[in-house]
Symmetry: C2
Subunit: 128 residues, 2 copies
């Protein structure tokens, strides 16, 4: 699964291992990582939902830790976390990014225009 | 509030009253209606949600008893009943019909095309 946080963690571990080989006296970080793993930031969705971001979180690849929470807030308000999660589960991995982009667009449009949402864009394009 | 079911009930009551005036021996229906009111069909949303359709149900004016349940099923799956209810509550009465039409359209489009939803229509219109 394409989880940027997992990659980030692996990268940190690899760097730590390399450091230990060249400087054996600094073995402490490796021991610490075994006892208490370096905490990674939760994804934007989990940050918004104030829940633990587990490995393989379905939202993590699409809602980054920095800007993702604000983006997810709109999606959550309009569609709900559970509905979006179920929807994404039924979409192949390589198409989920497009799905999240369109869902976010629809959510933003519905918050801007509660009556017409993104359908206002369709109507105005049809009238052109 | 424009509640078609309330109008339906009033119509039934008026007919009952008229009948009683011309045929006094058939006063029974009026007595029955005092003890146990004639049950009205729940709106499509409440039928789908298997709940009691109360007077002033926010969905009743937009999801009829016949076709409304199927229409609501799509809206429920994509947006969720609670989210749509909250959204409609913040829209003036006279604009809610348009909101329900566009929400239903978006829901149907998302079920037909889980990746792009109605955004596929926007993209194809923009390419024309």
């Amino acid at each position: 699964m394409a989880d940027p946080q997992c990659h980030g963690l692996s990268e940190t571990c690899r760097k730590g291992a390399g450091k230990r080989t060249t400087m054996p006296v600094e073995a402490k970080p490796a021991v610490v990582s075994e006892v208490a793993p370096i905490p990674t930031a939760p994804c934007g969705a989990c940050k918004f939902l104030r829940r633990k971001c587990v490995s393989g979180c379905i939202f993590a690849p699409h809602f980054g830790s920095d800007q993702g929470a604000a983006k997810f807030a709109a999606v959550h308000k309009v569609f709900g976390a559970s509905n979006v999660s179920k929807l994404l589960l039924h979409i192949p991995m390589n198409r989920r990014h497009d799905a999240v982009v369109t869902i976010s667009y629809e959510a933003q449009a519905r918050l801007s225009d509660p009556v017409y949402g993104c359908v206002s864009t369709i109507l105005s394009l049809q009238q052109q």
